[in-house]
């Protein structure tokens, strides 16, 4: 099906290039399956993710529990399936919030220039003076553990990436002739920013969104691993790895599968984001 479409070249060039990229296709298919898994977790998961079954403590993979059981006899597969919800909710919310804040501030900075630009860009400089995860650790220590606080902390860390990219786009676009034309025709600044600058900056924003969902999922897992993320017994992949380390030498399945889940998910988003960048604009330096 795909190959027939690709051969016919009936598709827009961007879609055509994406379909030709095997890595991107793998990434996309995996992401679709993962989203479906998260939505239909109630129907797919074989067991209750928080139901303890002490006799099955650390049971190795078997027919009844395909990926084995954890230290409280909970089914690892079911916990992974429910854990995908946390990863996806955090990943998408963080990126949505930081894309909106970053794009607004970035386009305002690039379009107006001058003092506004300087203030916004200094703010960006300050935020990127912290290694991302370290700032998130500090914020989480102050706010306390919860899924909402993880989203707040990671969004605060992540928005400057969008602001920088959109500012550069806004600088370029605002020099173009049709913006001058719109100005002459009496378009308001707000209209120009929302109807011209932001829509025309969408390709790099889209690439950054995809790549940063991967980053946010990894960052959430890292915070949860450090005990700064989502509260137990809520099944987060990162905290599953954190617990699994205590049984590293007796029951490796408890640590291996959640780590693999994080790895493959982040890989899928990175492969898709990479393909998207190559298809939209190979010159993008993201």
């Amino acid at each position: 099906m795909i190959s027939r479409l690709v051969k016919k070249k009936e598709l827009p060039p961007v879609v055509y290039m994406l379909l030709k990229n095997k890595g991107a296709i793998f990434g996309l298919i995996f992401i679709v399956i993962l989203v479906a898994t998260a939505i239909f977790a109630d129907f797919i998961a074989p067991y209750d993710p928080v139901a303890q079954n002490i006799p099955k403590k650390l049971a190795p993979p078997s027919f009844s529990n395909i990926l084995g059981c954890d230290e409280l006899g909970r089914d690892v597969l079911s916990r992974l399936i429910y854990g995908s919800r946390i990863s996806l909710i955090v990943g998408s919310s963080v990126v949505a919030i930081s894309a909106i804040i970053g794009s607004l501030l970035g386009s305002v900075a690039g379009y107006y220039g001058g003092g506004v630009d300087m203030i916004i860009m200094r703010l960006v400089d300050i935020f990127i003076s912290f290694p991302g995860l370290i700032l998130a650790i500090g914020i989480m220590a102050a706010l306390g553990q919860s899924i909402l606080n993880v989203i707040i902390a990671l969004s605060l860390v992540n928005w400057p990436a969008f602001a920088r990219v959109v500012r550069a786009e806004a600088l370029r676009i605002s020099q173009l002739e049709y913006i001058q034309a719109a100005k002459v025709m009496g378009a308001s600044n707000r209209h120009i920013i929302f109807s011209h600058i932001i829509p025309n900056s969408l390709p790099p924003i889209l690439v950054l969104v995809t790549l940063n969902i991967g980053w946010a999922i990894l960052a959430e897992a890292s915070l949860s691993f450090l005990g700064l993320g989502v509260n137990p017994p809520e099944p987060s992949w990162g905290s599953m790895v954190a617990v699994g380390r205590f049984y590293l030498l007796q029951a490796q399945h408890v640590i291996i599968f959640p780590g693999l889940a994080i790895f493959i998910t982040v890989l899928a988003f990175n492969l898709f984001g990479d393909g998207l960048r190559d298809a939209l604009d190979p010159q993008l330096q993201l």
Binding site: G132, I137, L143, S222, F225, L226, G227, R245, I262, F263
Partner: protein
């Protein structure tokens, strides 16, 4: 060059002030009364209202927020980051013990990342579209997607437990350094491999490389002496930019391998609610990161004088 360095120094000041502001804001946002936390550490009864009020005045907590910020800055300038609630020792002393260990781990990891990244990148470039090229490029994305804390446990299990080559965890001998550095090195090598490959691909097609080949210069010498040198600037940029990720990575990997650096200190402090240590560590790491970026920037200008000119224009805009 001196002028450039000076201007670059000036630009650092707002960042430093901003970082201290954010650290101060995080401290203020922490719920709970710091006096009660300090007095109440280990006691059921925190103290009489008089003691609490006295302590509050002593810490300057009864003053307006902006004055508190200035006294925070003033103490910071004298290297006073407060005291560890847990041990009662000055925070700066605890950080002073941990920081060199983190720096050591960062340097060895960076060395491994550069070695793996550059070698894989060069061979991927000279054998473009070969199996090795495809594998190493898939590997480079995979390396960037790996949760380093999980990779650490897998490496620990394989090299420390099954093969029994290196100590599982801890600190002391050079052998203890191998597994954590390898973990961070692998995680950091992906980006370096990719940029080395693309930069080398550009260079090895140039005429001067063909000229050296025609002269009969040995292949390895061409690669390392001529091609790599000319491909170096983008690689140095990426290496410089990866320091941030690497320092963040040490926070995770130190916990995995029980390496007594900043990461382990900070993470332990978080679980003990030892806030002065947490904020002190975040602040010190951010300041360190600013210094590293400054050094890297000055290095670029030294390697490639064109950068001075471009940055100068950027700054004057």
């Amino acid at each position: 060059m001196l002028g450039y360095i000076f201007r670059r120094f000036i630009l650092v000041i707002p960042s430093i002030i901003g970082v201290t502001l954010i650290a101060f804001a995080i401290m203020k946002a922490t719920p709970g009364d710091p006096v009660l936390v300090m007095l109440g550490a280990g006691y059921a009864e925190p103290g009489s209202p008089e003691t609490i009020a006295l302590q509050r005045t002593k810490l300057g907590l009864d003053q307006p927020v902006y004055l508190q910020y200035f006294s925070f800055l003033w103490r910071l300038l004298r290297g006073d980051l407060g005291q560890s609630i847990y041990s009662g020792r000055p925070v700066i002393a605890e950080i002073g013990e941990a920081l060199p260990k983190t720096i050591l781990l960062t340097i060895t990891s960076m060395g491994i990342a550069i070695a793996i990244g550059i070698i894989a990148g060069i061979f991927a470039a000279i054998k473009q579209y070969s199996v090795f090229d495809n594998l190493s490029m898939i590997g480079s994305i995979a390396a960037a997607s790996l949760p380093s804390f999980w990779l650490g446990f897998i490496i620990m299990l394989v090299f420390g437990y099954y093969l029994n080559l290196f100590p599982l965890s801890g600190y002391g001998t050079p052998a203890h350094l191998v597994l954590p550095s390898l973990t961070l090195g692998i995680a950091g090598s992906g980006l370096i491999a990719r940029i080395t490959r693309s930069s080398m691909l550009e260079v090895i097609r140039k005429d001067f490389i063909r000229a050296t080949q025609a002269k009969g210069v040995p292949e390895l010498k061409i690669l390392f002496r001529h091609a790599l040198r000319n491909a170096a600037i983008p690689i140095v940029t990426v290496v410089g930019n990866s320091f941030g990720n690497l320092i963040a990575g040490t926070f995770l990997v130190e916990v995995v391998f029980a390496w007594p650096g900043m990461g382990r200190l900070a993470v332990q402090a978080v679980s003990q609610r030892n806030y002065p240590i947490v904020y002190g560590s975040v602040l010190v790491v951010a300041l360190l990161f600013i210094v590293i970026n400054l050094v890297v920037d000055i290095l670029y200008a030294y390697i490639d004088p064109r950068i001075q000119f471009a940055r100068r224009q950027e700054i004057s805009k």
